[in-house]
């Protein structure tokens, strides 16, 4: 696992790491309660008292930003882990069982995937009403299908491999085979995807909150802070710039993280040279080894 981390673009993914750090330790380092209003210090610029200034209610922007990070991360983690769990379980089940069950599951997954996730989430929120948990549930429902699709594909492919038959011959139960042989393949694929997906999820949460359908005030959240600050955009753009910049950095950074992981598997323009190198090496070895294996 450690080998995967060598060669990661650390500068590019620093925002993610800062994001996570802030989210975890945020509550200990924020100087102010993010909800604390101070009418004597409205819309102030950055100063030694308020590092990033205050908003239209006198709330410390730095504290709000950091706490917002935590809110986003927690929400994202809940949705992602639940969607992963549901997706992997359903997808693996479909792939393993095969037959009609698999076909039905694939159809359901395809239908969900055909619609943009945000649209699905919006529809569900429309039914369930707004609120934090409503948002979580809606996003989870929109998100699991992709992981199910991936898991099913991996399971279906690996099941055809001869070494799975070998395991059956040894007396291995289906559960054993799944956990020991197939799950690692599923996880390695899914983790790579999820790391980039996290960014999209953070963005979706921000979008819903921006629309007033996600995280509700007084809980700070970047999307929500964005919509709040819109009215002051001319006099005091910092209210909009700060959360916007934070969002952009974090989302882009997550994408780069995901791509960095994927470099191990999928050739990208930079990695194409690496890949060609390895292929040439293998070809040379094969040629020298005179692959004369009969296939009668």
């Amino acid at each position: 696992m450690l080998r995967k981390f060598s060669g990661l673009p650390w500068t590019a993914i620093a925002p993610v790491l800062i994001f996570i750090f802030l989210a975890v330790f945020g509550s200990w380092i924020v100087p102010y309660d993010p909800g604390a209003q101070d009418y004597s210090a409205l819309l102030q610029g950055p100063s030694s008292v308020h590092w990033l200034g205050t908003d239209y209610l006198g709330r410390d922007l730095f504290s709000r930003l950091v706490t917002g990070a935590r809110v986003s991360l927690v929400a994202m983690a809940i949705v992602l882990s639940t969607a992963l769990l549901i997706g992997v379980v359903i997808g693996s089940f479909a792939g393993y069982v095969g037959g009609v069950v698999e076909q039905v599951m694939i159809s359901i997954i395809d239908i969900i995937l055909a619609l943009p996730s945000l649209v699905i989430a919006l529809a569900l929120i429309g039914i369930m009403g707004t609120g934090y948990w409503s948002m979580i549930a809606a996003l989870t429902f929109a998100w699991w299908a992709n992981y199910a699709r991936m898991s099913r594909a991996v399971v279906a492919t690996e099941l055809q491999q001869p070494y799975i038959e070998a395991a059956r011959v040894m007396g291995a139960s289906h559960l054993w085979i799944y956990v020991r042989h197939i799950l690692p393949h599923v996880l390695s694929l899914v983790v790579v995807y999820a790391s980039a997906d996290a960014g999209a999820l953070v963005l979706s949460i921000a979008t819903l909150s921006f629309l007033g359908l996600g995280v509700q005030p007084p809980m700070p959240e970047w999307g929500q802070m964005l919509v709040d600050g819109m009215s002051y955009i001319e006099e005091y753009p910092l209210l909009v710039i700060l959360p916007g910049l934070a969002l952009t950095l974090v989302v882009v950074s997550f994408n780069l993280l995901g791509e960095a992981f994927a470099l191990n598997k999928v050739p990208r323009p930079i990695a194409r040279r690496l890949w060609r190198r390895r292929r040439a090496e293998r070809a040379a070895e094969e040629v020298a080894r005179d692959k004369s294996e009969g296939r009668a």
């Binding site: 292929r279 040439a280 090496e281 040379a284 070895e285 040629v287 020298a288 005179d290 004369s292 296939r295």
Partner: protein, 330 residues
């Protein structure tokens, strides 16, 4: 006295990939005359495929090759030829049959037109003549009902028949040399026998030179006139099939023949083995490559590379220890 059609002299081939470099062929020489079948025998890492295919530019993509020495066909030197000239020579002087019959055929096209295309391109025939030539080729390779088979797709044919089509394809440009790389390994036993018989037949009729690359000693005995035994990129023994197979001198040849169970040599005897594994070709020691597995190895074997000495016309052995033994006995 038939003349030499294909001659390889002191061929040295290095394969380069960014982290590993392998000397796949280390000074191999042999000649093939018109109308004879020369078998190149060896196992993994012997260099038998590289030796024959590299001079023709047929190695897989991405492998950087350094070719030294000489490979002449009909007087023309192949090493140092540019790609276009090489491609032309390859098309006209050589025909190649690979192990996997599907590798040379386009699965989307019918078989006949592919053959005709070959004939037309390298012999400049008209479309009508090319078709006739293709059908005649199919017939000559023993395919029943060639007119009908002309219009078939590759997937409609069995392995044995496809291999015949491959041979027909290789013969289309009327080459001087037919190279067959493990032509029977992927086939069933009875079909193998048919294909070997076909090769023998073609050779007799058309006086073509055949280079047979194989690890199957039985195929050598059945279809070849002369044999060159390779080990780790070097020639260890060479001679007529009769000489080498009935009286092998080099310890590797002896070991190889002893380890191959002969179906007719009588009932159960323990197959003797050659202990150990072929050497790692990216890290080679000086001296004889076979020394570490050789029952007769002496100190000098590990230090000095054995020369390929000529015993008699066409009979060569690269093992001073064995040759010394022989002289002692005579």
């Amino acid at each position: 006295m038939s003349e030499t059609v294909y001659a390889i002299n002191d061929l040295v081939i290095d394969l380069y990939a960014p982290t590993v470099s392998i000397r796949a062929v280390d000074g191999v020489s042999f000649h093939a005359k018109a109308g004879e079948t020369v078998a190149i025998v060896g196992e993994s890492g012997s260099g038998k495929t590289v030796t024959t295919l590299a001079p023709l530019g047929l190695l897989p993509e991405g492998v950087r090759v350094d070719l030294r020495g000489s490979a002449r066909v009909d007087g023309q030197e192949l090493i140092d030829m540019n790609a276009r000239a090489l491609s032309r020579v390859r098309g006209t002087a050589f025909g190649v049959v690979f192990q996997d019959p599907m590798s040379a055929l386009n699965p989307m096209l019918k078989v006949g037109p592919q053959l005709a295309e070959q004939a037309r391109r390298h012999r400049g025939l008209s479309a009508k003549d090319a078709r006739a030539a293709a059908i005649s080729l199919l017939a000559r390779t023993g395919i029943p009902d060639p007119e009908d088979r002309y219009n078939r797709y590759p997937h409609e044919m069995s392995g044995g028949m496809l291999q015949r089509v491959m041979i027909a394809l290789a013969l289309a440009p009327q080459p001087k040399v037919l190279i067959a790389d493990e032509p029977t390994t992927a086939l069933d036993a009875t079909v193998q026998a048919q294909i070997l018989e076909l090769l023998r037949d073609i050779q007799r009729r058309e006086q073509i030179t055949i280079i047979l690359i194989t690890h199957d000693i039985g195929a050598v005995a059945a279809a070849a006139d002369r044999v060159v035994v390779l080990y780790a990129g070097r020639v260890c023994e060479e001679g007529s099939v009769k000489q080498v197979l009935t009286e092998p001198i080099h310890p590797y040849t002896q070991g190889l023949l002893a380890s191959v169970p002969d179906f007719r040599a009588g009932a159960r005897r323990a197959a003797s083995e050659i202990p150990g594994l072929p050497p790692d070709q990216s890290r080679l020691a000086p001296g004889c490559r076979f020394a570490e597995r050789c029952p007769k190895a002496e100190e000098s074997c590990r230090v000095r590379r054995p020369d390929l000495e000529t015993l008699s016309e066409g009979r060569k052995v690269a093992c001073p220890v064995s040759l010394r033994e022989r002289k002692g006995h005579v």
